[in-house]
């Protein structure tokens, strides 16, 4: 009798730790989603900029706002910068997707583990009720 109660307590503790892990994972996933959303928006904006820069004449004046001042920039330089940013962001998006998938897999396995634990606890309780 005492052993079963001890086992029950242990299972309960395990369940709690698993649940906290799961909630942590879910938080991570949510954060990841937000970051991803931000990056996709920025990527869209950068692509628009690139399109406009491509449409500009060679001798057009391009400025970049750095803090409170507008700094004149070479068109080719600006173009290269924007391209670099786009590359970086697409790479980042890919990375985020990979981590997101990883996290989701982890989440699913955690969920399954929790379900199993719950079932074990239930069966234990049922056995107790019978005894």
């Amino acid at each position: 009798m005492s052993s079963s109660t001890a086992m029950h307590r242990e299972l309960q503790r395990e369940l709690e730790t698993k649940a906290t892990d799961l909630s942590k994972l879910q938080k991570d996933i949510a954060k990841n989603h937000q970051v991803r959303k931000k990056y996709t928006i920025q990527l869209g904006e950068n692509e628009l900029v690139l399109k406009e820069l491509d449409l500009l004449n060679e001798d057009a004046n391009v400025y970049k706002l750095i803090g409170p001042v507008l700094v004149k920039q070479d068109l080719a330089e600006a173009n290269a910068n924007v391209r670099k940013r786009i590359d970086y962001m697409s790479a980042e998006l890919k990375r985020l997707d990979a981590t997101l998938q990883d996290l989701e897999e982890k989440q699913n396995s955690k969920k399954e583990a929790i379900l199993k634990l719950q079932q074990r606890i239930q069966s234990l309780q049922a056995g107790k009720a019978k005894a």
Binding site: Q42, E45, N46, L48, V49, K51, E52, L53, L55, L56, A60, N61, V62, Y63, K64, L65, I66, L70, Q73, A78, V82, R85
Partner: protein
């Protein structure tokens, strides 16, 4: 008669609990309102963009503009706008470019197009969501009403039953109609039905060729010929009767055909066709008995009995489908047998019962009629009931 043949009844509330449906519908409504906000914002952008375009196009019309220049949060001072054809345009990502008015307007128009595509996509999403919401609402309302879902096995016999049910009323209504026009209409209807049936036969034979083995396919070929032959013969028979009979006879005949024709478009026609082929014969018997108590019946009973014997054979046929047709084709009017066999080949399991029922009635009916010349109404109610029994079995 009221009880369903076979079926299950499940209440919708067991499938979709009320709270869950409400929750789901609420969630969908929330997302809809979110999207609505987004849509409003984007549409504001579109409006701003349009006004900005018009402003940018208007500015270079003058050399300079007198304006109030904002100074800090609360102050303005008078100023003058010069260089009216030079714009410093934010491209995004803190990049600016110097553009002329025309170039700026073009740039803004491109932005406007992007915004419009956004509006379109948001609207599409919202439409989807609205469809979902309406589905949830409808389901919720149905659940709240305590609606039940009834699933019933589809049996072809119901259509035959409906035909028989519809007949008596139609016949009484049709009594007033002129005999001449009825004959014309009947002829038209028959030709239409013949066409339809031939189409079906062609389809069936195609299916059979694919599904059945070679011998069956051969049979169906023969049956096709025999069937069309039989149809024309049946037509002749019925027309002959029509020509000689008084109004009452043709009335019932016509109406049965008519009701069949209505059903023809809606349901799988095979069994209905059978019941139709046999039904007029059943109907004619009593009507003739009424119209010509003593003088004419012999002639018609001859034809009717003949057709009854046609109808009788299917019971043998359907019970022993494996038999070869060739030997029995020589028997009295074999076309009906073939007709009946041609159809069961594709799906005979569904309605062999009905065939047996019909022939059973056919066997009993004429005897009652000829011996006792009993009322026409008595055999009729027995039909649906007995058929119903067959269904319930």
């Amino acid at each position: 008669m009221e009880k369903p043949a076979k079926g299950t009844v499940t209440s919708l509330s067991s499938l979709f609990p009320v709270e869950e449906v409400q929750e789901a519908s609420k969630r969908v409504q929330d997302t809809i309102s979110e999207h609505q906000k987004e849509l409003d914002q984007v549409q504001n952008f579109v409006a701003d963009n349009a006004s900005l375009i018009s402003l940018v196009q208007k500015l270079p019309e003058e050399l300079h503009h007198d304006i109030m220049v904002p100074f800090g949060k609360a102050a303005f001072f008078p100023g003058r706008l010069i260089h009216t054809n030079e714009f410093l345009v934010l491209l995004g990502e803190s990049y600016y470019a110097e553009r002329t008015s025309k170039q700026t307007a073009d740039l803004l128009k491109r932005r406007g197009k992007a915004l419009e595509s956004q509006v379109k996509s948001i609207k599409a999403v919202m439409q989807d969501l609205k469809a979902q919401a309406s589905y949830f609402d409808a389901t919720g309302a149905e659940v709240a009403e305590g609606l039940v879902e009834i699933t019933e096995e589809y049996t072809e016999e119901t259509s035959a039953e409906e035909v028989s049910k519809a007949d008596p009323t139609n016949a009484s209504e049709a009594d007033n109609i002129n005999a001449l026009t009825e004959e014309e209409e009947f002829a038209k209807l028959m030709s239409k039905i013949d066409e339809l049936e031939k189409e079906e036969l062609a389809e069936e034979s195609d299916e059979e060729d694919e599904l059945e083995k070679e011998e069956l396919a051969e049979e169906s070929d023969e049956e096709d010929e025999g069937y069309s032959h039989m149809l024309s013969k049946l037509d002749e028979l019925e027309k002959k009767e029509l020509a000689t009979e008084s109004v009452s006879g043709s009335d019932e005949d016509y109406s049965s055909q008519h009701s069949f024709d209505q059903r023809h478009g809606h349901q799988l026609p095979n069994p209905t066709k059978q019941s139709k082929d046999e039904y007029p014969i059943i109907k004619e018997l009593p009507s003739i008995q009424h119209a010509f108590p003593q003088e004419l019946p012999k002639q018609f009973e001859g034809s009717n009995l003949q057709s009854v014997s046609e109808g009788k054979s299917p019971s043998d046929r359907s019970s022993a489908l494996a038999k070869s047709t060739s030997a029995e084709k020589a028997s009295v009017l074999p076309e009906v047998e073939e007709n009946i066999e041609a159809e069961p080949q594709s799906q005979y399991k569904a309605f062999t019962g009905s065939i047996v029922e019909h022939t059973h009635n056919l066997e009993t009916n004429p005897r009652e009629q000829t011996i006792a010349s009993s009322k026409s109404s008595t055999p009729q109610p027995s039909k649906p009931v007995s058929r119903f029994k067959m269904q319930r079995r």
